[in-house]
């Protein structure tokens, strides 16, 4: 309950700051961004986050699952370590490195554009998803898998009917953490031509105008907090009811 009060107060403060900085109009020799600007940049921001997290899920969940399979367990340190490195490189560096890549890969045309930003964000957001998928799939009670096998489920049926539903809550936590991180990191996307709310913030940074920085930062924080709340609700909603019940002693 107290946590919810804090979250709601934070959201109200962020909205308040956004309205205040936008209503100031002229800031020194600069003009504040309009609501229409904020709306456009928020939309760009969300699009980048959406694609980056979506790709991270598409890649991360199967990857985290794959390395829990018997034949692949040996490469699990490699995969988890790789994802770890992805996150331990400063986000700014990843984004900068991506912008300098002079080639095209699949449908991505690297360079000074949004696709580059999305790939950089994807690399940065991959770890929580891979790590949580791996941990949750690896922690499923072996007795359940054995009884599923013993009853004649195929490998794929076991993954689909037993392992994924049981691992889902933890995987969703990974997706939520990844999303919140990516919303913050996407501020930097503007540096490689990705636009988003970073456009406002960095205009403030280069102009040395605190109000402009706040005008970009406040909506970003609002996005991060509200997406976190939404994803947490989804997490609770998809957790199978049987798993929320505490074990009764015999």
């Amino acid at each position: 309950m107290r946590r919810w009060i804090v979250l709601v107060v934070m959201l109200i403060v962020m909205v308040g700051l956004t309205i205040w900085t936008t209503s100031v109009g002229d800031i020194g020799i600069f003009h504040a961004f309009t609501y229409a600007d904020i709306f456009t940049h928020t939309k760009d921001h969300l699009i980048m986050v959406f694609w980056a997290v979506l790709i991270a899920v598409i890649v991360g969940v199967p990857l985290g699952t794959l390395v829990t399979r018997p034949g692949f367990s040996r490469i699990s340190p490699l995969v988890l370590g790789g994802a770890n490195i992805g996150q331990s490189i400063p986000s700014l560096a990843i984004i900068a490195i991506m912008a300098t890549l002079p080639f095209s890969l699949f449908f991505f045309d690297f360079g000074f554009n949004r696709e580059t930003a999305i790939v950089a964000l994807f690399i940065y957001g991959l770890l929580p998803i891979v790590r949580n998928s791996y941990a949750s799939m690896n922690n499923i009670n072996p007795a359940l898998i054995e009884s599923a096998r013993g009853m004649g489920m195929t490998r794929w049926q076991i993954i689909r009917k037993i392992e994924l539903p049981l691992a889902m809550p933890v995987i969703m936590t990974g997706i939520r953490v990844s999303t919140v991180i990516t919303v913050g990191t996407a501020e930097l996307a503007v540096l490689v031509g990705g636009k988003g709310l970073g456009t406002i913030t960095f205009t403030g940074v280069f102009a040395r105008e605190v109000l402009l920085i706040i005008q970009g930062a406040a909506p970003t924080a609002f996005l991060a907090v509200s997406l976190g709340i939404i994803l947490e609700s989804i997490e609770k909603w998809i957790t199978p009811r049987g798993m929320k019940i505490k074990v009764k002693n015999s």
């Binding site: 009670n141 007795a143 359940l144 054995e146 009884s147 599923a148 096998r149 013993g150 009853m151 004649g152 489920m153 195929t154 049926q157 037993i162 539903p165 049981l166 199978p240 009811r241 049987g242 798993m243 019940i245 505490k246 074990v247 009764k248 002693n249 015999s250």
Partner: protein, 373 residues
């Protein structure tokens, strides 16, 4: 039904878990795999439904080599129950029981009907339990659901891996008895793995006693107890094997059927004379329709006055059902201090009495002859 022929399991590191095991389990029989941990009993069982691949020999199910059948298909036709932890926590009791029916593509209504039928069989009220989750049940209830799930599509064979191992002793005894009753109805061919000799004797039609991956003795519980093949078997069944044999006998096999009784309305002197003539100091009392009502001992009858049995009866004494296992009846005799235990059939009708002498004689006979079940 199930035939093992020189079944061998050698692991990649060279350890021989099962070594040329050969025997047959007949249709409708409950065969217990018994032995100390590491004897290969679970490994052998899991080779039957191919959870563990066989490395030598053959296993035939109804004459068909089990490696010739698709593994998933094979397993769907063999019920499988492990300890209660094997239930899927994210599914309801009904969904758990419907697991194999779903895999076999049964229609929704047929599955539901079957789940309800099976819950009835394990004596759980379908309307109350079918939509509950495993975590809402007690350990004993979860185990019942586990058994019901194994029976999902009515497979002819059941494999049970220490199914009652995680249950507390009191509930375990109850579940065992109940499962035996169910087995009388369903007559499945069952492989039952346990390391508990008491459980093995109680449950098994036959026991396969294993040691270090080898079959030591494959026999009826009575023969295992009274005709141990070697020192290992003797040691495993224990020095108290005669006492363990009490579990194999039913009260009706030991009791004395025709026995003097006292009637409620009889004069005490008449009863006393009868007791003195027979040389006994206690008589069960029955009412006019033969129902057991209590007992009189000779010390109650010394008074000489013209009383009836009704005035001196000690009512509601300990008694045992005619179908009870002998060790339960004996235990009751020891705890109640009775030298003679009245045996009743349904409706509380007196059927006979049980004495220490009779028990001793029967056990002595069993040890001498090898026992019969």
């Amino acid at each position: 039904m199930i035939k093992l022929e020189k079944v061998t399991k050698v692991y990649a590191d060279g350890t021989k878990a099962v070594d040329e095991m050969s025997f047959e389990v007949d249709q409708g029989e409950l065969c217990v795999f018994l032995g100390p941990s590491g004897c290969g009993k679970t490994t052998t069982m899991k080779m039957i439904n191919r959870l563990i691949p066989i490395t030598g020999g053959n296993i035939y199910i109804d004459g068909v080599d089990n490696t010739k059948i698709n593994a998933s298909e094979l397993r769907r036709n063999i019920g499988y129950a492990i300890q209660e932890i094997g239930l899927f926590t994210h599914m309801t009791v009904g969904q758990n029981i419907e697991t194999v029916p779903v895999l076999k593509g049964w229609s929704k209504s047929r599955r539901r009907e079957r789940a309800e039928e099976l819950l009835e069989l394990v004596r759980m009220k379908p309307s109350e339990f079918i939509d509950k989750y495993p975590n809402e049940l007690s350990g004993g209830q979860r185990q019942r659901v586990g058994v019901a799930r194994a029976l999902g599509t009515d497979p002819p064979i059941l494999l049970m891996d220490e199914p009652f191992g995680a249950i507390d002793p009191i509930n375990r005894v109850e579940l065992q008895s109940e499962f035996l009753k169910i087995q009388q109805k369903i007559k499945k061919t069952i492989i039952f793995v346990t390391h508990d000799i008491y459980e093995a004797i109680k449950m098994g039609d036959r026991i396969a006693l294993m040691k270090d991956g080898k079959l030591v003795q494959y026999d009826t519980p009575a023969n295992l107890l009274y005709r141990p093949k070697d020192e290992f078997v003797e040691g495993f069944v224990g020095a108290d094997r005669a006492l363990k044999g009490l579990q194999l006998l039913r009260v009706k096999e030991v009791m004395t059927g025709t026995y003097a009784t006292a009637k409620m309305g009889e004069k005490t002197e008449v009863v006393r004379e009868r007791m003195e003539k027979e040389g006994i100091d206690w008589l069960p009392v029955v009412d006019n329709s033969g129902r057991f009502t209590g007992g009189v001992s000779i010390s109650d009858l010394t008074g000489g006055r013209a009383k009836t049995v009704k005035d001196v009866i000690t009512p509601s004494e300990a008694k045992s059902d005619i179908n009870a296992v002998l060790n339960e009846a004996l235990s009751l005799m020891l705890s109640s201090g009775l030298k003679t235990l009245p045996i009743v059939v349904e409706d509380n009708r007196l059927a006979g009495i049980l004495t220490f002498d009779a028990i001793q004689e029967t056990l002595h006979e069993a040890v001498k002859t090898g026992g019969t079940k």
